[in-house]
């Protein structure tokens, strides 16, 4: 029997008293819920260093799996839906993607072939982890794998041999003049 069919009961109004009852039952504070349901990305905002880009990609991946969506007005991720993968898998896969954020990866001007080896290995690890994980449903399996693949591709764009890698690691893109200079470099 699918738990969703029986327990997806929204007939009761979403009132504060009901929420309080839920909080009491689950033994959690309302402040904790408010704090955790909104994840600010102040640290990443305005930052243009490539060194943080990989971390940002990992965060995006993690938030998507947890059911959070980016709110550009408030500049934070807000809980809008249910998680599509278990916490264990989210931690594991985020760790795999985050392993690319080593500073050495950025300054070494990684060759595309070397990156491909790392990329394939990472994807296969993710694939195996997803297979063993029972929390991911069949309908979400392809979504999770494709999401992971896309994020790894984005990481590849950053850490492979691009023009002005070193400048991008150190410099900032905040001034238009500097941006032009770096673009020319």
């Amino acid at each position: 029997m699918n738990p969703k069919n029986t327990l997806d009961n929204n007939s009761v109004e979403n009132t504060d008293s009901d929420l309080q009852e839920a909080l009491d039952y689950l033994n959690v504070d309302k402040e904790d819920v408010e704090k955790k349901s909104k994840v600010s990305i102040k640290g990443f905002n305005g930052m243009s260093e490539k060194i943080l880009e990989v971390n940002k990609i990992t965060l995006e991946y993690k938030m998507t799996l947890e059911g959070k969506e980016f709110d550009s007005d408030e500049n934070q991720y807000i809980q809008v839906s249910k998680a599509i993968a278990g916490s264990h898998f989210i931690r594991l896969s985020s760790g795999i993607i985050n392993s690319f954020s080593e500073t050495a990866n950025l300054v070494s001007k990684k060759d595309i072939d070397k990156f491909n080896i790392q990329f394939i290995d990472a994807f296969l690890k993710l694939n195996n982890a997803a297979l063993r994980d029972r929390t991911i449903g069949e309908k979400d399996m392809r979504l999770v794998l494709k999401l992971a693949k896309d994020k790894l591709c984005n990481v590849g764009d950053i850490i492979t041999n691009n023009e002005g890698n070193m400048a991008a690691v150190i410099g900032k893109y905040e001034d238009d003049e500097e941006k032009k200079k770096l673009g020319e470099a």
Binding site: D18, A22, Y25, K36, S37, S81, L131, T135, G137, E138
Partner: protein
Amino acid sequence: MGLFKKKNKKVDPKKGYDKDTLQGISSKKIHIKVFRDFGNNARFLMGQYFATEKRDAYNTLVSINEAAGHNEDVDFGMDDVYREMQIVLEFKNLSKVEKLDLLDRKIARQEKIILYLNRHIELNALFNYADESVKLRDYRILKNYVNLHEEQGSYFTIENGMRVYSFVSVDSVLVPIWHNVDSYTQIPDHTRKKKINLQEEKTFLNEMKAFSRDKVIALSLTVALALVVLLFMTTVFAGYKVWNKNNDIEEKMHASAFSCAQYTAGIHTQYGSMVTDWLNEKKADRAEIEAEEVKKKPDVMADAVKSLNPIGE
């Protein structure tokens, strides 16, 4: 003959199997039966065949019969649930009633959590819905298992000294049958997820292969070679055309000279023949004249002879 007479197998009446049967059970060859479910435990046997147990790319034990297109897991996802939950809930020293009581309480709490998570989305920040729903599903599977499971139950039966695995075909997916208690579920099993993963993995590796540097180099070389061949062919064709053109031009260039020469040769031939005719005519005329002259010419000798005095006159 008495020496070679085959002894009757000693069958243990308590256990109900002999030594050969045990060897058959532990062999890699197994018997597969596929049923179609009509509800109310009415099943129709769709097919049966043998299969061999092997390890696949994921190191999972699978049964394979290539001719029948059978490639299914021997271990089932539900087994993991039983094993894990037995440890997590410390079931070892509990009686069946205590186990069921504990599971009922767990299920009730889990259902309530799921209910609250569905009603208040913000609570999902603290509780992972996927984790909680899987936990609930596991408790339910385990309750079903505890309620109906018998010690002798298994996914296979033994027939003719061989393990027989039975499946029910649901939407062409083979769902294993738990024998004795009939508690198979249609919750997606490991096999189905594995097929999705295999597809994705294959697609991914093919994509990566398509973009590999070697392939790009090989493709570039092939294109370059094709271009070189094309250029060579074009050059040869152009050369041939130029050669032909040259011949045409030369022909045209020499046409006037040739006609002139031909004309000259014609004139020459005509003039030659004319001269020859004239000469011949002249010759003929001369011959005639000479003949006439010869006729007209006085016979000097005769006259001389006549004029000569006779000897003695």
